[in-house]
């Protein structure tokens, strides 16, 4: 446990200090890392629905809801970003709870197929949203986060867009916060209830677990994370369109978890960074980029069917332990 804490602090130090210092002259690399970090946040939400045994291909829908919530609140009502961020998460979570209550009764491939349709349905809803969503032209010119000051002392300066560092740090903080929260959840009673749902819902129910309520809890937590990620992206990109999140995006968020490993909280992070960074590295290969990317995915499934973290090297040669929360 202490070893784990030391490693975590070391990683955080590298990510918060060494990397920004080393790449201070290259905004491109910092923006790629920002993207990877938020992709990791969003797919951590999907990871949580995996923990209860549901394959969630709807995360794009919740990012979209979060993104539009932020876009509408900041551009139409002048609400500051720092208030929009949690509000967007809550909006996504509320929708998640509402739609999750009936849909989570479906299992396995049925749930994954309907969640896929949900992504498409939400996209079409925003596309036909009239004046509220501006239809296909989307909402552009979303203002960046403003300054926050308490009693005249400026705690957070306004993001002026001249440096990629503020967004880099914000994404890193969101990622750290999400991982800590997930780790905490998975190591307390709720986490064990979630795992019991994945292993056997009937048995859990017979032990007195309110299966439906916990399913909805996990799903709305996942949606909350998706909404926060979507809110960040909307402000980071300064715009949002109905085409911002498609079925492909929802599938990608799910794939990151898969490829990282479903048995570990860090799975989504490992998968997201591996795939987002390798996709960027392959950029030099131009037209063959996505083709090779698909090849990597297929090879990973053939060679590491239980995720990158299950690679024996990370366990000192031991086989990966199953069902742990680390």
């Amino acid at each position: 446990m202490r070893r784990f804490a030391v490693i975590a602090v070391a990683c955080a130090a590298v990510y918060f200090l060494a990397i920004p210092f080393a790449f201070r002259g290259s905004p491109y690399i910092l923006s790629v890392l920002t993207n990877a970090a938020i992709a990791a946040v969003i797919s951590s939400g999907v990871w949580l629905t995996f923990a209860i045994g549901r394959i969630n291909i709807a995360q794009g829908a919740f990012c979209m809801i979060g993104g539009y919530a932020t876009a509408v609140l900041t551009t139409r009502y002048g609400v500051p970003f720092w208030i929009c961020l949690p509000l967007s998460g809550l909006a996504a979570a509320a929708f998640g709870a509402l739609i999750g209550w009936p849909l989570l009764r479906l299992k396995g491939v049925y749930f994954s197929m309907i969640s896929l349709s949900l992504t498409e349905a939400v996209r079409l809803a925003f596309l036909n949203g009239g004046k509220l969503t501006n239809e296909a032209s989307g909402i552009v010119g979303i203002p960046g986060p403003g300054a926050v000051s308490i009693a005249g002392i400026e705690l957070i300066p306004a993001f002026d867009g001249s440096s990629p560092l503020p967004f880099y740090y914000l994404s890193a903080l969101l990622l750290a916060g999400t991982l800590l929260a997930l780790w905490r959840i998975m190591n307390c009673r709720i986490g064990w209830v979630f795992r019991s749902l994945r292993l056997n819902e009937e048995l859990a129910s017979s032990m007195g677990v309110n299966v439906a309520a916990y399913r909805v809890l996990a799903f709305s937590l996942s949606s909350f994370i998706g909404g926060v990620g979507g809110s960040f992206y909307a402000v980071y990109q300064q715009n949002i369109y109905p085409a911002s999140y498609t079925v492909t995006d929802s599938m990608n968020y799910m794939l990151y978890c898969f490829l990282g490993g479903l048995d570990y909280v860090l799975g989504a992070l490992v998968g997201a960074f591996t795939l987002v960074l390798s996709f960027e590295l392959l950029h030099a290969l131009q037209t063959y980029q996505t083709l090779i990317y698909a090849g990597i995915m297929i090879l990973a499934m053939l060679l590491l069917p239980n995720g990158i973290i299950s690679f024996p090297m990370f366990h000192g040669g031991r086989a990966a332990s199953r069902g742990g929360g680390r």
Partner: protein, 294 residues
């Protein structure tokens, strides 16, 4: 005014039958693979796209006879499906500890096919000229002979598949495998051979649908995902793994689409279809003809 309404509805029904019968073909392929292997083939739409492009190149570019081009396209996509099963799915199913692993693999193959197609065929929208000239008049509705032909071909393929699954030895073994994998194994059913064959037939059906529908709607390399989403809608509606359910789901979606496009502007049709699907699944999670999940 009443005449106009009547014409719209008859024309709509004709249009619905054309797309519905081909959609049934798409859903059949997906449900066959799902029934036999418990794999949701996310690359199903890409197989459709491949079949459509094969027909485009053979029929419109190389000037082959249409039926010959269609048969070649079906065989080609069938071989792709066969190779996927033998080279990829079989291996992953052997080592995977979660059944979801095959889903990731299927998505990987979908991305592979889509980008391969983008490189090979480009981004352009491709359509083929009508197969036969002339239009059939049914009362107030018009049905081009070309569309009539592809509809008949689609219904013919559906009939052949049903006869095959129902009355041949191999078809019976496939149904047994779908019903109870272990019991089928114990009775000496060769699972490996049948899985490969089932995947090949399922893919071939998607390819056939693509080859048929390319005469009605133009195709492009990126069309696959949308077709997959439609295919999922159909089998969820009808019940996954059930042959009759797939046909019912395909026809239902075909008619719903035709009526929706007539009644609402643009993309609202599919929004309504998805909302309807979600509401329907709340009432009946296993679909119209599906068996409840154990």
């Amino acid at each position: 005014m009443e005449d106009l309404l009547g014409a719209i509805s008859l024309q709509t029904l004709v249009n619905g039958l054309v797309t519905g019968s081909i959609y049934a073909l798409i859903a059949l392929g997906l449900t066959l693979i799902f029934g036999i292997m418990r794999v949701v083939n996310f690359a199903h739409g890409q197989m459709y796209m491949l079949g459509a492009f094969a027909v485009y190149y053979l029929y419109a570019e190389a000037k082959f006879n249409y039926v010959l081009a269609l048969v070649l396209a079906i065989v080609l996509v069938g071989i792709v499906g066969y190779l996927f099963e033998v080279l990829l799915f079989r291996r992953v199913m052997r080592v995977a500890t979660r059944e979801e692993n095959t889903m990731l693999l299927a998505m990987g193959t979908a991305i592979l096919l889509e980008n391969g197609a983008l490189l090979a065929f480009g981004e352009k929208q491709r359509g083929v000229p009508p197969l036969i000239d002339g239009v059939l008049r049914i009362g107030e509705a018009y049905l081009p002979y070309s569309r009539l032909l592809v509809t008949v071909l689609a219904l013919l393929l559906v009939a052949v598949l049903i006869l095959f699954v129902r009355y041949t030895r191999t078809g019976r073994a496939m149904r047994a495998l779908a019903q109870d994998r272990e019991a089928a194994c114990l009775q000496g059913v060769n699972v490996d051979r049948l899985s490969a064959l089932g995947f090949a037939i399922g893919a071939a059906l998607a390819g056939a649908a693509g080859g048929l529908l390319v005469t009605v709607f133009a195709i492009n390399s990126g069309a696959g995902t949308a077709v997959s989403v439609k295919a999922f809608t159909m089998i969820m509606l009808g019940g996954a793994g059930v042959i009759a359910g797939a046909i019912l789901g395909g026809l239902t979606l075909g008619f719903a689409e035709a009526i929706g496009y007539e009644a609402f502007p643009g993309s609202i049709t599919y929004l309504i279809i998805f909302i309807g699907l979600i509401l329907f699944l709340i009432v009946r999670p296993q679909g119209i003809l599906g068996k409840p999940e154990r």
